[in-house]
Symmetry: C2
Amino acid sequence: MSARIFDKVALIGLGLIGSSLALIMRREGLCGHISGHARSEQTRRTALEIGLVDAVHDSAAEAAADADLVIVCTPVGVSGAVAAEIRDSLKPGAIVSDVGSVKAAVIADMSPHIPDGVHLVPAHPIAGTEESGPRAGFAELFEGRWCILTPLPDTDPDAVRRVEAFWRACGSDVEIMAPDHHDRVLAITSHIPHLIAYNIVGTAADVEEVSEQEVMKFAAGGFRDFTRIAASDPTMWRDVFLHNKDAVLEMLGRFSEDLTALQRAIRWGDGDTLFKLFLRTRGIRRGIVEAGQETAAPDFGRGRMDHDGGDESG
Amino acid sequence: MSARIFDKVALIGLGLIGSSLALIMRREGLCGHISGHARSEQTRRTALEIGLVDAVHDSAAEAAADADLVIVCTPVGVSGAVAAEIRDSLKPGAIVSDVGSVKAAVIADMSPHIPDGVHLVPAHPIAGTEESGPRAGFAELFEGRWCILTPLPDTDPDAVRRVEAFWRACGSDVEIMAPDHHDRVLAITSHIPHLIAYNIVGTAADVEEVSEQEVMKFAAGGFRDFTRIAASDPTMWRDVFLHNKDAVLEMLGRFSEDLTALQRAIRWGDGDTLFKLFLRTRGIRRGIVEAGQETAAPDFGRGRMDHDGGDESG
């Protein structure tokens, strides 16, 4: 029995997600031919060198020609432009999908360029690392992670089923969600965490009387966890914030409101308010571990350092 | 050559730090006898059961009697009360130390109770995990981590040298710092990161239209990193915030100011401001890895899950 789901898959964008998709498709034999395109010549050259895909093309349109599935793996800010570029080379019955962290804006940008008879099935795999580029990919990236599909009400159900089968074959669990709801869920579970991680790292670097060297030396007190997230791809994340503006601003408003309440509790010595919150948040982590979305090992099981790491000493 | 630095060491408090100290002292033979006290009967019973220390005492005063080094390993809020309790049983020439994440307030609380001829050498090992309690300890906790000593100008230099030798024998690097400076460095590298981690986890749990189950399911987008820190000991952290109020409020003011600037950039579509910050923060992480305070493995090398984890997909 062949695992093949599509004859030809085109990857537009060969960063962490695109390269991981290439590797898992190869490993599992999910398609007959993988074509790829990346905007940067350097990335295209690397992709050729490491044999990531079967053919590397200089343009997105060439890569997408004759593909049964085209996956746009670029920062969300250019997904509309990519759709415009490939529209004339899409074959009838083709499926266009993406991996963007924002769904409503991406759909608004891409759908005007999707020809009749071509199916747009937006997708978002909740997976990644702080690394980026074509060498960062690995076949296991999507294993046990969720992939959210946000088809429109009139999307061909068969196309949705094929994309769902594809992601399951990549090792993911699949959830169907409305685009707006996706954007609000991700705003709080991903976008705001990234924004505040970037922000605290910037704030720390700016404190005049604490040197950057001190910040780095004593990072094991908690700060270093944030720097990992704040090392994520700058272009990708700029685009996420600009394209999920409304949900991000709303969740940020809630975050700031809650933080102001904590600030007030600290100023007035209200230990009960602090204690109650700190007790409550412990349970959430347990839930995430139980949901299979996190290691149960203390300190993330950080185990590949010269010396074992630690945290939370204050 | 014996590794023994002290004849008798008393541990007041047998949580993560106290139990880790017991284990490393045993492994390295750093003292002849370890006495211990914990406020909770349950902890005292566990300590006996697992043979953590040589003798478990019902009161801090009994544990501290005849000790050459007394290490207060309690939440910082009770360090003054502990000092008052043990003052009459401290032998001349003894050293009293602690492991608190706040130094100025702890010194203010403890020093009035330190008898003449006894030396107070405050210490803070920058090490820990999100676990707590007497079973959470492990001998390697302090290995390669920094321990900051904040002696007062009139503290006996020989006592400082012995505490320094002790921490080096535990595997730590040692830095001497003024208490106020310590409190400001830790406010930005540890206390504020913890506060915002607790806060975002609370905010997420409260968003009405996103269920707690959804938050847990899709946590791999970034949120789960924060939940680890937000699973840290509630009592310890309440005390940290109440006792490092001024530095925490100042750093929190800076954080909020910077966050408001990002909020404004998002509202007005100012991608350059976002991009510039996101690019800059990448470098800080590299510095922490180079300083030996963090693993270089992507995604913390999270490797003990059933399936490998990921992050930063958005």
